[in-house]
Amino acid sequence: MYNTLKQITLVHGVSGHEHRVANTLKEMIAPYCDESYIDALGNLIAVKRGNGENPKKVLLCGHMDEIGFIVNFVEDSGFIRVAPIGGINWVACAFGEVVSDHGVHGVLVPNSGTKASDFAPDLMYIDIGADSKKAAERKVKIGDTFVLKSNLSKLNSTRVVGRPLDDRAGCGIVLEIAKRIAAEPVADDVYYVFSVQEEVGCRGSKTAAFAIEADVSLTFDVTGTGDTAGSKPMAVKLGGGAAIKIKDMSVICDSEIVDKLARLSKEKGIKSQLEILAYGGTDTSSIQMTGSGCRAGAISIPSRYIHSGVEMIDMNDYKDCIDLAVEFIKE
């Protein structure tokens, strides 16, 4: 499980530029699905056909994209100006090592003398070690993307840290579910959606959901926790099990799905906790609202320090998410 997750984590895929991740996952999921395709926006959609008489459509979704930077402008000095893609925490990224989609390394730094509280795109630049515009332009052009360097490591037997766990952890879970139910008889059609452009407003899942017209959906994404020093009150804890989403700022999940997940967790002895997130949103909302809509639920992976270079999850929670989802699909 960890090795698969690590493999997915290390692929470059800023919002709008996820094709590398899509190609990797397409190959990885091929043995476990009947067919797969990549749509106009770049979503990877894989299907396992059900054996029921009137199969319903179940949509499982994790997003492939990660937050990052897009090159806006190359200064005469060879410094590179970038704009954010997704919700960048500039303090968390400053003085970090960054890598472009073409493998160019650099460091993201603020203009000299800028206070941390003032960090903003216009006051930051990437230094790739080039001493002139010409030298820089040999390696980087406008439109290239950068990310904080990807990495993943184990802190102890269960806790892992690195980036981008948001939301390659979700992709990993969807992939593991596909593996687990590949050989099992499942009545319903299961659609594995690896969506694009979640970090810029849940755009990819919208068109994927429109095409699929699912009856039921489950989204897998990271959620915050209330167990770090100085954190806002929140009942979700790292290691507390799969987080069954009740609501976040973009969605109120279908109450019957919430109840069913909570019941399954109890019956099957899978550790879970209920999640109310006071900020943020996920693909759950766009899937719920697209076309005629669908009954939408979400299982979240408790995660600390989201959108930094040191996102942290617990592999026990990760496994609980998979177990709970598998039981849900089987029923």
């Binding site: 009856d215 806002k232 009150p233 929140m234 009942a235 009740i246 609501k247 973009s250 969605v251 109120i252 999940c253 279908d254 109450s255 919430v258 909570a262 209920l274 109310i276 006071a278 909302s285 719920q288 609202m289 697209t290 076309g291 005629s292 809509g293 669908c294 009954r295």
Partner: protein, 351 residues
């Protein structure tokens, strides 16, 4: 069917965003018999159908949202206190010392929002508390609570309806169930042969939060629609051009984002039938479901209508019963108008 009673009955139901189906049986018992069909769509919008009996009739949608503002439990604390998060915009200024009902797993619990005694107040005492700083006191033990409720259990304001001067009434959740009552009342009391088309009254979900009317309108695919929601009443300290007057009839919204011609036709009908009404200008947004319906599919011509209401998003919202009567009249005029049906009822533009 009496309009005032229907308004109070509907508004009393618990229908906090995400729990619109909580008292669905009661809702069906209240009005179901007057309709040909009552069903839930895929995302939980409740639809009441009344057919006109003609073939290939236009499909007319009347939207009023079913959900009301309220809270969810986020934490169960020692001493029987609860922390909550708001569902829909709530001014925390109204919270302290108010009565609430906690809709537990199998029973209703009573609670009071704790008010901070002066010597415990932080800062100057002049700042309003944030929602996650407020406590609900249940006078139960933590253990009792844990067996009766869970995280996500809905908490609502207690219903208490009282009449005041000039045929006005106050209480919780007239936003938007007073409008829902008017739409149901108007449709139920119109003989089917007078309807200009098949009428679908959609009591939509989650308007106060995320809005589920868009998938509802997409699935229903009506020829034209009226969105009915409450509108900000004029009270001291508000701006004239941003408010409407209680007692002067429903408002019809003029906006760059609703259907201009349909709006004009509704003004003409109201004038012709001498139904009291007032204009309300919302240049770039209506703050209601109207825009979501208008932009659904290939565009659904939509008119936005409002019921004047004072003290919005408190548990003592005020409406005029005269306005609810005239609003019902306006809705009847809309669903029976053959000119609108002729103009908008065809659909199917070939490009």
């Amino acid at each position: 069917m009496e309009l005032k009673k229907l308004i109070v009955d509907l508004s009393s139901l618990m229908s906090i965003g995400g729990f619109e189906r909580f008292e669905r049986e009661k809702l069906i018992n209240l009005v179901g018999e007057h309709f040909d069909d009552a069903y839930l769509d895929k995302v939980g919008n409740q639809i009441f159908v009344k057919k006109c009996g003609k073939e290939n009739a236009p499909r007319i949608m009347l939207d009023a949202h079913m959900d009301e503002i309220g809270m969810y439990v986020t934490e169960i604390l020692d001493g029987g206190f609860l922390r909550v998060t708001n569902i829909g915009g709530i001014d925390t200024g109204i919270m302290q010392a108010s009565d609430v009902i906690i809709y537990g797993n199998s029973e209703r619990l009573f609670g009071v929002v704790a008010s901070t005694p002066p010597h415990l107040a932080s800062g100057s005492g002049k700042d309003l508390p944030k929602m996650d700083e407020l406590l609900i006191d249940t006078c139960l033990t933590k253990e009792e609570l844990e067996s009766k409720i869970r995280i996500g259990t809905p908490v609502g304001f207690a219903p208490k309806y009282t009449e005041i001067l000039n045929n006005k009434i106050m209480g919780k959740s007239f936003d938007d169930k007073a409008c829902a009552a008017c739409a149901l009342y108007a449709t139920a009391n119109t003989p089917r042969e007078e309807l200009a088309g098949d009428v679908y009254v959609m009591l939509s979900c989650c308007e106060e939060v995320t809005g589920m009317v868009a998938p509802g309108a997409y699935a229903l695919n009506p020829n034209y629609a009226m969105s009915i929601d409450v509108n900000l009443g004029r009270v001291p300290g508000t701006i004239k051009e941003e408010t409407v007057e209680l007692g002067k009839g429903p408002s019809i919204t003029i906006s760059a984002v609703t259907d201009r011609k349909l709006t004009k036709m509704l003004f003409d009908i109201a004038k012709e039938k001498e139904i009291p009404h007032q204009a309300s200008v919302s240049p770039t947004h209506t703050g209601t479901n109207a825009v979501s319906i208008q932009l659904s599919r290939e565009g659904i011509p939509t008119v936005d209508v409002g019921l004047p209401l004072a003290s919005m998003h408190t548990y003592n919202e005020i409406i005029s019963l005269d306005d609810t009567k005239t609003l019902s009249d306006l809705i009847v005029a809309f669903i029976t108008d053959e000119k609108i049906a002729a103009e908008y009822g065809k659909g199917g533009l070939e490009i």
